[in-house]
């Protein structure tokens, strides 16, 4: 999706190459081709392409990837803010 770019330097994606076994799972689940396997290790090719869906971290068998997953949705975030401030008790923040 090179055509669509969102804000840079915001993603929480982090890869611990020490732990990585090079299984390739992250490369095959990422919908934005963020990873590439090189010399039996995963490498982050395009950090800013990450939309924090969490698919890679959820599927890495050795937990080498961390990311704070969520949906990039304003309505959802507003509801989360309201909940934080105690204005709203309803626990079901709805999105898409």
């Amino acid at each position: 999706m090179e055509k669509f770019r969102y804000l840079s330097n915001v993603t929480t994606l982090h890869l611990d190459s020490e732990l990585c076994t090079g299984c390739g799972m992250c490369e095959s689940v990422c919908p934005h081709s963020v990873f590439e396997i090189e010399d039996r290790k995963a490498k982050i090719l395009d950090q800013d392409g990450c939309m924090e869906c969490g698919a890679c971290a959820n599927n890495c068998p050795v937990d080498a990837i961390s990311v704070t997953p969520g949906v990039g949705c304003a309505a959802y975030i507003i509801q989360a803010w309201l909940k934080e401030t105690g204005l709203k008790q309803d626990s079901n923040a709805q999105c898409c």
């Binding site: 999706m1 915001v10 095959s28 689940v29 698919a55 990039g72 975030i77």
Partner: protein, 398 residues
Amino acid sequence: MKDHLDESGASFGKEPRLQPIFISQPDPSEEVCCGPPAGPPSGPFEKPGYKLLGFVDSFLQTQAGPVPKVKTRPGLSDVIGTVAVRLGIGRNDYKIAPGLYCIGDPDDSSPVMVTANYKLSFDTLRKDLEEVSAWVLVLDTRGINVWCAAGKGTFSTDEVIRLIKLTHLDTIVKHRNLILPQLSATGVSATRVKKASGFSVIWGPVRTNDIKLFLKNGLKAEKSWRTVTFSFVERFVLVPVELSLVIKSALWILLAVLIISGIGPGIFSISSSISRGFIAAMALLSGILAGAVAVPLFLPWIPFRAFSVKGAIMGIIAGLVVVFALMEEIQLVSTIGILLLTAAVSSYLAMNFTGATPFTSPSGVEKEMRKAIPLQAAAILIGISAWVIDSFINKGIT
């Protein structure tokens, strides 16, 4: 009386007869009587209290019981349903029963596709599986599409495992592979599915129209099938839903707009509420169209990455259109008011559209919102003030 109750109670306790019984019926065509000619006799799979769904063709007998075989061509009711859902009518309850379905003539070596029980997801999959023989395992994602369900946790590892067990999938196929849509990886851990059920997850393409190529390619997905897109058509179908989401709040805002427009030197004037209210309503409408229609459609061509900025740009353009169209009735101060209002409304709606795109990260949206919301609120306040002040200035001139 009591005896009677006991008797009927006992009869209910017996094994229900699930197998259809065929008793030859008299052929109705020879009886000349009331009404139009009789229809065909009821099929063997009709049961009292159940309705056979239009997309079910027949049933395939398997080790684990009958499995509904579905048509790949969408019927009229499917098309009507799709249109209604796309327009935002009844979109919260468009689902099918979870369980195992099949397409074509699958056997114990045919592939198993897993999908959500949102009917649109299911409909697209079966349409794209035309002339393929496959099993389709439908999860209970509460009628939500694959991508959203994976994010919400209803398309989950546990749900995949539950359906494998529930449908006795291991007695139906002899291989141990499941094809899952890649976008469900957010909710499903392949390692955990394998551990709990013995089935290996193979990530299928993002878009179901690549599924036949994927099957031909030996279940290997090319990079382009693994990457999400957000084409004009994909954005276009989202527009009616975006609009249906704003209509309710828009009506309340419209009421407020009419009241505010009536405020003037004479405290409140009905005629001014109507004449100036019309202009303000046009401004509101153009702001909505800019943010909920123009931004989604022209997304990649509008400069800047932040959606709130894209929205503000389109909002100002839409506001200028209103100002030029109604030039004779608008003074400078109210022009400023109108532009601020259209920019703020459009900016807010565009920011909300982030939730429907497949590339905005929550960290980014939150960062953008922290900056944009105070500005949008300020623009609305200054805009309303300008609008009201203008009413007093004009009075002074005439």
